[in-house]
């Protein structure tokens, strides 16, 4: 069956998709190095000056610093809020558990645009939007539930008897958490953190709705640069897009060392 006509058709379609995808990425990369490129197969000359232009004119250093601060703050806060909740959900069996689970599922399932507009309205009402704080708060809304949902199955598979044994040996609650649970949780927290990091750096809608000047992350200022394309050379915008994709690719490669590709979109593990 492997070499049947259908099989070749499928691989052909995959190849067609990948070739076009490659062409798409390559035209952006080539253009970011082009001195001029009008209607020919290959640009007239190559230069790397657009990268320094982008660095200077679009204040890339500032934008990268903002992106890093927002991403780190979101990761740390969502782990601090999400992991205790995941622990309670994994261990407890209490009335209303289903309701709480649904409450944490909704912000992930609903597209950011639907709850982002009311959320931004509320944040503007309390004068929180338009700055870093607003961007961080808005990005936490899908991140905390994401940490809860990735960590709950992870904690469920840690044997509860280990905790009981530690208590039998006289450990108090702080010691159980600090010296027994925490080391066991580290791999799960690491995986959840890197996934939240990738999602936050790539999150457009929520950041776009809540950011003001000086609190735009890379993806939003890239959009702004492209939207006001007439002002800037397209090559400089392309250089910025390449930098964005390059950093996302690095993050993804790091992420894939810790997690299975399937976990990027779901909390399911691919059975081995």
């Amino acid at each position: 069956m492997r070499n049947s006509v259908g099989g070749w058709l499928v691989w052909g379609a995959v190849a067609f998709f990948l070739v076009n995808l490659f062409g798409l990425v390559a035209s952006v990369v080539v253009n970011s190095f082009a001195t001029q490129w009008f209607g020919t197969w290959w640009p007239a000359g190559l230069t790397s000056s657009w990268y320094s232009t982008a660095w200077r004119e679009l204040d890339l250093l500032g934008v990268l610093a903002v992106t890093l601060q927002v991403a780190v703050a979101v990761v740390v806060l969502s782990v601090l809020i999400g992991v205790p909740t995941a622990y309670a959900l994994a261990r407890g069996n209490f009335p209303g558990k289903k309701l709480v689970t649904v409450l944490f599922l909704l912000p992930i399932l609903m597209p950011p645009m639907t709850y982002g507009i009311p959320l931004a309205t509320v944040l503007y009402k309390f004068d929180l939007a338009g700055g870093m704080a607003g961007v961080i708060i808005a990005n936490l809304v899908p991140s905390v539930p994401f940490v809860v949902l990735t960590m709950t199955p992870f904690i469920e598979q840690i044997d509860q008897k280990i905790e009981a044994a530690a208590r039998m040996c006289g450990a108090n609650t702080a010691a159980v958490f600090g010296r027994v649970l925490a080391p066991l949780l580290v791999p799960g927290i690491l995986a959840a953190s890197i996934l939240v990091l990738v999602r936050t750096v790539g999150m457009f809608e929520l950041t776009f709705l809540t950011a003001g000047p000086g609190s735009q992350t890379l993806v939003v200022s890239l959009y702004e640069a492209m939207f006001s394309a007439g002002i800037r050379a397209q090559q400089a915008v392309d250089a910025m897009a390449v930098i964005y994709t390059g950093s996302m690719l690095v993050l993804l490669v790091i992420a894939l060392r810790f997690v299975n590709p399937t976990q990027l979109v779901t909390r399911m593990k691919e059975p081995t």
Partner: protein, 295 residues
């Protein structure tokens, strides 16, 4: 004091209410304050129109104005084909990638790369690659398929392509994980009984996979239905691809009419719920027992 009933604390603990639940407090307070409250606030705001005229004035305005009401159809016309293409393309590819083979991880990684591209690079790439002087048009002219460049960006097709590129990795990974959850011995048993691959797929794999496909369709549909930046960048934001997010964003943040913006966001959520409800209603009629998988 000797009580004839166990203490309240003990009785609560028996039902699962103990101090562990305190750990839930920060998370639940957070979701209630920053997710549930804004959504409910937006809902009640949508019933308080800026210009008066009764609680439903915003909703009447939306459905009376074709410039606003048509956004629902425009968005559905983009989101349903995009979700269908993504799900239907994922099935045969994932079907052939179930087993273990050399380079599987590499191929999966390559198929997942579009996640890192982001909407903006995808848009920029589509404009340059599919544009009138881009490589794609150059190649099909050179091959002789057409005499003049085909218009593929700044219209419906540009946004559809962008949705397929960004949505496919999600659909593919979900389908792959559902397919890997189906026990391969079921198919082997069918093969032993003389079923050819068509029959095995039709009568064994597909019925077990269908509920998962319904969920995959819902998730990719939701992603596509809320399309926002690419409708601006590679579409025709005031015409063919004026999707519902654009209408909501412009009402709330360009015209500062938060009540109308919230009303449109609520309509957007309602349309999605209707479509998801229909798909899930169809799904509930399918077999949903064990798939025999370990995961």
């Amino acid at each position: 004091m000797i009580a004839d009933r166990p203490s309240l604390r003990h009785r609560l603990a028996e039902r699962g209410v103990d101090r562990t639940l305190l750990l839930l407090v920060p998370g639940v307070v957070f979701v209630l304050a920053l997710f549930a409250y804004p959504v409910l606030y937006g809902l009640q705001l949508s019933f308080q129109p800026a210009e008066g005229g009764g609680p439903f004035a915003n909703y009447r305005k939306f459905f009376a104005d074709p410039y606003l009401a048509d956004t629902i159809l425009i968005t559905l016309r983009l989101a349903i084909p995009a979700a269908l293409v993504n799900v239907l393309a994922s099935v045969p590819i994932a079907y052939r990638m179930r087993g273990r083979f050399r380079g599987k991880r590499l191929l999966t990684t390559i198929l997942v790369v579009p996640i890192t591209l982001g909407t903006v690079l995808t848009a920029e790439g589509l404009i340059q690659y599919l544009g009138p002087v881009g490589w794609f048009n150059k190649i099909i002219i050179a091959v002789g398929l057409t005499d003049e460049p085909i218009r593929l960006v700044h219209n419906y097709w540009g946004v559809l392509f962008s949705l397929i590129i960004t949505g496919f990795p999600f659909a593919f990974l979900l389908t792959l994980s559902y397919l890997s959850g189906i026990d391969p011995t079921l198919e082997q048993a069918a093969a032993t009984l003389g079923a050819d691959w068509r029959g095995r797929f039709r009568h064994i794999t597909l019925p077990l996979l269908a509920p998962g496909l319904a969920i995959t369709f819902c998730l990719t549909f939701v992603l596509a239905f809320s399309v926002f930046p690419s409708a601006y960048l590679v579409g025709l934001p005031q015409g063919e691809t004026r999707v519902i997010s654009i209408a909501a964003y412009e009402a709330a943040f360009r015209d500062a009419d938060y009540p109308l913006g919230s009303a449109i966001a609520m309509i957007m959520a309602a349309v999605m719920l209707v479509v998801i409800g229909l798909v899930l209603a169809w799904r509930s009629r399918l077999y949903r027992g064990a798939t025999g998988g370990k995961g």
